[in-house]
């Protein structure tokens, strides 16, 4: 196992710069996801770590070893590709044994390692099949086994679940995560699916347009996003613009068109500055009676989601917001209600 250190990584193709100045450290045994919209440079970053692309600038280190200029076969990595890239002309067993063979591990020792890893990924009795004779989920497991059997120091996965159906995807999420924990391997995982990143990762890296906007635990990313782009990409968000009225330690009071909102803040803005309050849909509370600090609203739509009820609410400034509550449907379209936001549940974003 080893740490992965990426320093000021830049990758430019002929016409586009795919990644600019990426800095990232993945600790030993840590599971880090790279999350971002399509084309933001996730795959490019991962391929640079794998050695499949030569960075235009910056360095990559595994532990204390500089690998920036090493070809992929000398990096001790395991990689799982989105379409698995299993060798169609080799059986499952020989696919898995491929990396061992390349390292000169043969015979009984290799056979035992292959058998072990096949058991680990729960692929009994598939050894002599060809990849095309396997289901998507089984192919996925073979790809994992093939990457893990050589006991690489770093595991790289590029949207490995994108080709699976929703139920299998859920299952594999937990499977991969628990496998990773058991093996304790340093893992870099690329996805554009936030639920995937949230449930699996120790930390998440959020990228836009080739740059990192935030690195943090799933909770930090969700509750304390670094900027508006991150806030809007992760989950759904209500944003209310205003002016900073008062700054206390860790808290800021924002004066908005609908009333005063007390937010938690990660930085100290100057009084009078323009800013925004982020309120997640489940953070707001609804009631029939107004109380101190609540604002008036009217329900314009109501969706039953099973475990949640999803309301669209128009506030005094004619903006529409989304609030989710647990339990039964208590309000109907047209109801006038009061919306309140507990002060630790709003988050300040600079404009």
């Amino acid at each position: 196992m080893s740490r992965v250190i990426i320093r000021r990584l830049t990758k430019a193709y002929d016409s586009v710069t795919a990644v600019t100045g990426v800095d990232l450290e993945v600790a030993e045994g840590e599971f880090v996801s790279i999350l971002g919209p399509s084309g933001c440079g996730k795959t490019t970053t991962l391929r640079c770590v794998a050695g499949l692309e030569i960075p235009t600038g910056g360095r990559i280190l595994f532990g204390d070893t500089e690998v920036t200029a090493l070809p992929p076969e000398r990096r001790s990595i395991g990689m799982v590709f989105q379409n698995y890239a299993l060798f169609p002309h080799l059986t499952v067993r020989r696919n898995i044994a491929f990396g061992l063979e390349m390292r000169g591990v043969r015979g009984a020792k290799a056979a035992r390692r292959v058998a072990d890893v096949m058991e680990m990924v729960q692929l009994p009795g598939m050894a002599h099949r060809y990849p095309r004779q396997l289901s998507g989920g089984q192919q996925q497991r073979v790809a994992l086994a093939r990457a893990l059997v050589v006991e690489p120091s770093v595991l790289l996965l590029d949207e490995p679940l994108a080709n699976l159906d929703a139920k299998l995807r859920d299952e594999m999420r937990f499977f991969i995560r628990s496998l990773q924990k058991r093996v304790g391997i340093t893992t870099l995982y690329v996805t554009h699916d936030q639920a995937e990143a949230m449930t699996m990762s120790d930390r998440i890296v959020v990228m836009f347009d080739g740059t990192i906007h935030q690195i943090g635990t799933p909770e930090e990313i969700y509750h304390r996003p670094a900027d508006r782009q991150v806030a809007e990409f992760i989950g759904s968000s209500n944003l209310i613009a205003g002016r900073v009225a008062e700054v206390r330690e860790g808290y800021v009071t924002l004066e908005t068109a609908v009333g005063m909102i007390v937010c938690r803040a990660g930085h100290r803005p100057a009084a009078g500055e323009q800013a925004m309050a982020l309120i997640r849909p489940e953070a707001a509370e609804l009631s029939r009676e107004a109380n101190a600090g609540s604002f008036a609203g009217r329900i314009v739509a109501c969706h039953f989601l099973g475990n949640l009820i999803d309301y669209d609410i128009v506030l005094g400034d004619d903006t529409t917001h989304r609030v989710q509550t647990l339990g039964e449907t208590l309000y109907a379209v047209g109801d006038e209600i009061a919306v309140s936001v507990p002060e630790e549940k709003a988050w300040l974003l600079s404009k």
Binding site: R47, G51, L52, E53, I54, P71, P72
Partner: protein
């Protein structure tokens, strides 16, 4: 993906060196040589005499006999291309759209004449078209003939169409196959009859295939040597047969080179004109 991005240490281009070298040395250099040769002074006793001249081109372009041969060759090639298109399009369309389980056999049957040598196919036509050949014998039974089917332009045309028809069928077939059948269905739902859907949708969309098939057949027919020689029996003169006569019979190399280059230049100009003329129908298709 095919795109290998293993950067500067990627030396795959080196793999192309033997191929590129072979073609440059044995195709490009000889072509340059022949182009230079066409400006040499012809000599009856050796490859060429010293000095350079435009005489060969002057002789070629000033000689009504050769211009006649050139015209015959080009018109023959155009006729062959048109006939091949008329015969080939329905077959290509059928092959592209049929769901018959014989489809791959039918495809192989189009392909295989291509793989049977030209000489053998000309042979077949000689047996069929000769004065005492199969067709004239059959006609004789009903009291017709014998007709002169061979050793004239008719025979050469038949032979060339036969030899090059697959080159018309294959590109058109590929073009039709890549047309989504839903385009036709959409046209039908919009009120077009089957015929109109064909002429307004399928035909225009298969133009790229028709264009490449036509160019291919035209070029191949204009530079064909074996078929005119065998089915023309020396009585149908085309540029390639004429050039071969000059080269093998009289050894006037520089003159032969000029003749061959004039034919190639003519075909290139005609292809250019043809693409220019078909450009409006090709808009948005390639």
């Amino acid at each position: 993906m095919a795109a290998q991005q293993v950067g500067p240490r990627n030396a795959t281009w080196l793999l192309g060196l033997p191929g590129a070298a072979a073609v440059i040395i044995f195709v490009i250099v000889p072509y340059i040589n022949i182009a230079v040769m066409s400006f040499r002074v012809s000599s009856p006793s050796r490859a060429y005499d010293p000095g350079f001249t435009l005489d060969n081109y002057a002789r070629t372009l000033g000689d009504p006999l050769y211009l006649g041969v050139l015209w015959d060759t080009v018109s023959l090639a155009v006729i062959v291309a048109v006939v091949s298109l008329v015969l080939g399009f329905p077959v290509a369309f059928f092959l592209a759209r049929t769901r018959s389980r014989w489809q791959s056999l039918l495809y192989a049957l189009v392909l295989s004449p291509l793989l049977v040598g030209v000489v053998i196919r000309s042979f077949g036509w000689i047996v069929l078209l000769a004065n005492n050949g199969v067709i004239n014998q059959l006609l004789g039974m009903v009291g017709i003939g014998p007709l002169g089917l061979m050793y004239n332009r008719l025979g050469v045309t038949i032979g060339l169409v036969h030899v090059f028809l697959p080159f018309m069928i294959l590109p058109i077939m590929n073009a039709v196959q890549s047309i989504d059948p839903r385009f036709e269905e959409a046209a039908r739902t919009l009120g077009a009859s089957e015929r109109r859907a064909f002429f307004r949708v399928v035909l225009p969309l298969s133009m790229p295939g028709i264009q490449s098939g036509a160019i291919l057949v035209f070029v191949l027919a204009a530079s064909a040597y074996v078929v005119p020689e065998l089915l023309g029996g020396g009585r149908v003169m085309t540029t390639p047969t004429f050039v071969m006569q000059q080269l093998l019979g009289t050894f006037l190399w520089p003159f032969g080179a000029a003749l061959a280059l004039v034919l190639s230049a003519t075909t290139l100009i005609l292809i250019w004109l043809f693409t220019l003329l078909t450009k409006p129908v090709m808009r948005g298709l390639t």
